[in-house]
Symmetry: C2
Subunit: 222 residues, 2 copies
């Protein structure tokens, strides 16, 4: 079957312009909220994010309740983005991904594609073999946590292309987050946070020159 | 100072459309190469990718030499994308990030922004305190590796927006990659790979229904 050509929706110049425009926003305008259609697209970007095997070992907790955000702020070195941004997303990984998660995923593939589960036996065995190495040279929770960082990159890039400001935040206490959000009981563990919204007009960081090493230093060609 | 409004360069619908269009390409058209202006933008996307503290603990090795790619393929479960894609990028993290890396970064910030290094002393001490916890509850190499996954998400999303196909690949032998590319001597370690180019017309995976859990399952609201 011929595959439709896809021209893309941005030019190379637009892409680079937006990635240069973005920065880790320190001060959000608390009065400005992300419109629903844009936020929905960002949630879809999270859902559509790639992951190893497509296993999606994750949950994204969108926190809008001001009372919950007040409780998260002290667990985040008191950084104001937690209460002032339009939206807060907590990226959490599934704890101890197991063969049961693989089986659930295979059932879902079969249902979505309308094919018998048996036709996926080889794929299932490969994934089961992988997750079964947990503890034997494979830190399955570290592996799962890394997948959340793909989703973080997807989210930050998507926001930049939409003209929405964001701030990735590693400076949080994951255990306190788990407790406040009740994630432990659900089998998930906090990895990292992103806040999103619109920069305050007086965020001094917005106008600082972007600091990156030269391409010649970080990109090598072989 | 007033900050310029930024409208974004894609609509919510375009963003979601492109993220649905992308998939882990299994079979590339070996005859089609990514034009130079698009590839340059993807390299810039890597350079501009966010990282913790902005420390950029990474190197991106773009492999175009067919002879090198022939050697990488057996270190990648013989997956054909390694030789058939237009471009191969190896994402490598800096090994054992230390205070020396922090100092180099602070010197670079000062140079780019034309400010005295001393004005960054507080920021430097914070970062130095962080990396000095290596081995004491902090796996600094795991932390650095996670940053590469932000760059991977940035790269895959950027490619999708440009209408370029890609495939993230964890199924590689990092040690063999390090050896073939001589990364060990340079103080870097292979984390993950992405191949990019254009899907072959007969890649069966291109037309399969996308499998994702429902938003209601992976996105929670608090």
């Amino acid at each position: 079957m011929a595959v439709a050509e896809q021209a893309g929706v941005v030019t190379p110049g637009e892409l680079v312009q937006q990635l240069r425009w973005r920065y880790a926003t320190k001060k959000f305008d608390p009065a400005r909220k992300i419109p629903a259609d844009r936020w929905d697209a960002l949630e879809q970007a999270l859902v559509l994010s790639p992951s190893s095997f497509g296993l999606q070992p994750w949950k994204f907790i969108v926190v809008t309740d001001p009372a919950v955000r007040e409780r998260l702020r002290p667990a985040s070195w008191n950084q104001p983005q937690i209460t002032d941004a339009s939206h807060v997303v907590v990226f959490a990984h599934r704890k101890d991904v197991s063969v049961a998660d693989v089986e659930r995923y295979v059932r879902h593939i079969a249902a979505v594609r309308g094919i018998p589960e048996e036709s996926l036996e080889g794929y299932k065995q490969m994934m089961a073999g992988f997750v079964s190495r947990a503890g034997q040279g494979l830190d399955i929770n570290a592996w799962a946590a890394r997948q959340l960082y793909i989703a973080l990159g997807t989210f930050l890039t998507s926001a930049a292309l939409l003209g929405i400001d964001a701030c990735p935040m590693e400076g949080i206490d994951p255990k306190q987050y788990d407790e406040i959000l009740g994630l432990d009981a659900e089998g998930y563990r906090t990895v990292v946070v992103a806040t999103a919204g619109y920069r305050a007009e007086d965020d001094a960081y917005a106008t600082l020159a972007k600091v990156r090493y030269a391409s010649t230093e970080v990109v090598a060609h072989r």
